[in-house]
Amino acid sequence: MTAVVLDGIVLGLQFGLLGVGLTLVYGLGGVLNLAHGQLAVLGAIAVWLAIGTGLPVLPAVVVGLAAIGLLGFLLDTTLMRPVYARRGDERVLLGLLLTLGVAFIIDGLLNWRYPIASLNISIGGDPISILGVRMRTGSLLASTIAIAAAGLLLLFFRGTTLGRGVRSVIQDEEGARLVGINPASVRNLIFALSAVLAGLVAVTRSMTSPVSASAGIDFTILALIVAVVGGLGSILGAFVAGILLGIVNTVSSFYIGQYITTIVLLAAAALTILLRPSGLLGRRK
């Protein structure tokens, strides 16, 4: 049982890291990025290509993530501009449709150019014993990276001036503008950060199981569910939701079986939304 729960936490940390990027972009600009999973996969393929040129893993990861971050920045400065020019429901809908278009393009290009590519980073070393359970080093490293990323994010948003600036835009765009913060550049920064986080998920995920070029839509849907269950806009919420859903996932797949597990997972997510429409840690608007 402990082993199953620990596995669930490992998986859940990945879920959380996936949801956090989506939640940030939504909190800031009201855009639910339907290409989030595709950006993650694109990051993985970028790393895979970098490794293919002969780079060692660590520099390859840095190069891949930098590339995906740059792409995120470019997307936000170009394609997302008409979205931010709208208000309310129109902005939400246009954001959904344009990012959906981006998802199509990324999926199509990957399917065309690298249909069978998959990133699989193997982390060597003997299993390490935690709470009497022998854990693979790959899982542990992936979890450590996820926890470190969560910690850094919370530190950034709570502890630094820039981070507080971002939060001020999330709470009140007009107010932030009045005190001299430019919401557009904050959005640029966060979209790029969100893309890097997406790429990071694909990289950590590939330490335990291969990430294939076609996994984009699965990542996107998972990110959506985690972000909504956690409360859109809440960083901590995304991680709490991710870990809970990760545990539900591994426990039910261990005791019940795969198909029913997905249904249990989805039912748990739906139930949370119905009981707490603002999410686990979200604020009521």
Partner: protein, 322 residues
């Protein structure tokens, strides 16, 4: 009666399609799928376009209809007509339930979307998991309907044309009735509608029930005409994303928007078969280029254009008359 003229014209245009496609079974199949998606799009438009409930379970509700009809007719041995009615009923009840829940918990667009999305995925897994009943990944061969004209390309096309026309008439009649008045009121300003005495929750649930019933019926008919259904026939990626794009492309809440959107994208699909794997890329580019350019979809854009031209011509005639 005048309000039914656009529907009659659309029906006449679509009825001519087999004249130049009937020599190819493959193309007739594509045309039939185009009509199936038109039917989906009209139903989705009734739910989302009229009452702002984002149902991301179009495929799943059609699947409830398709599998219910196939299983009731093949396994239980019910007559086809009864199976169709029960299939539509099952989908209507399922969709109505979502509307009821969304209304009770006052979920907004995004949350309704996510709840229905989870249902889509759960349904998909249910179909894959219940192998004995649904055939799992291999899919389900449907015997009912075999040997009848339902399996011939041209008659099947006209069956679906009948469905599309019926749906359009239902949509228009609803629009013209007090229900449509309430729909418009709650679409424009929900709070004002509530204050003016419109029972917003009740009309949302109506739309959910009727629209979902339409989806279920279309899915059920498809099971009988195609003779084969599988999880991917009704999957989120195959159905919902396309329907959403079609309806928003054509014009949310308009009568003919879904028809136009479904037709345009069916033609794009057909044209792009040649480019193979790059099809999806082109699809994405079209979606982006279009939505950056047009705000409210094609039908309203055309209406504005026609009005402008008519206005100018009117002005010219006016000056000549002086």
């Amino acid at each position: 009666m005048r309000s039914l003229v656009p529907i009659a014209l659309t029906a006449a245009a679509l009825a001519l399609v087999p004249l130049w496609l009937s020599d190819s079974d493959f193309r007739m199949g594509l045309a039939l799928e185009g009509l199936l998606f038109t039917a989906y799009a009209i139903a989705f438009n009734l739910i989302f376009g009229s009452t702002k409930q984002l149902f991301l379970c179009v495929g799943a509700l059609a699947g409830v209809g398709g599998y219910t009809a196939a299983i009731l007719a093949d396994r239980v041995g019910l007559p086809m007509l009864l199976a169709l009615v029960l299939a539509a009923g099952a989908a209507a009840v399922t969709g109505g339930l979502f509307s009821w829940v969304a209304v009770r918990r006052s979920l907004d667009v995004i949350f309704t979307g996510i709840i229905t999305l989870t249902f889509s995925l759960a349904f998909q897994n249910l179909i894959l998991g219940q192998r004995n009943l649904t055939g799992g990944e291999t899919g389900l061969l449907v015997d009912t309907g075999a040997g009848t004209i339902l399996r011939e390309p041209v008659p099947a096309y006209y069956v679906f044309l009948g469905i599309v026309v019926t749906y359009l008439v239902v949509f228009r009649l609803l629009q013209r009735s007090h229900v449509g008045w309430a729909f418009r009121a709650l679409r424009d300003d929900e709070v004002a509608a509530e204050l003016a005495g419109v029972n917003v929750p009740r009309y949302r649930i109506y739309a959910g029930l009727v629209g979902s019933g339409m989806l279920g019926l279309a899915g059920a008919f498809f099971a009988f005409t195609e003779g084969f259904i599988s999880a991917s026939t009704f999957s989120f990626g195959h159905v919902d994303i396309r329907v959403l794009v079609m309806v928003v492309f054509g014009g949310l809440g308009t009568l003919l928007g879904p028809v136009l959107g479904a037709t345009v994208f069916s033609v794009i699909d057909e044209v792009l078969i040649g480019v193979g794997q790059l099809r999806q890329v082109v699809y994405g580019l079209v979606v982006i280029a279009f939505f950056v350019g047009f705000k409210h979809g094609l039908v309203p854009a055309i209406e504005t254009l026609v009005r402008t031209i008519a206005g100018r011509m009117g002005a010219r005639i006016g000056t000549k008359g002086d």
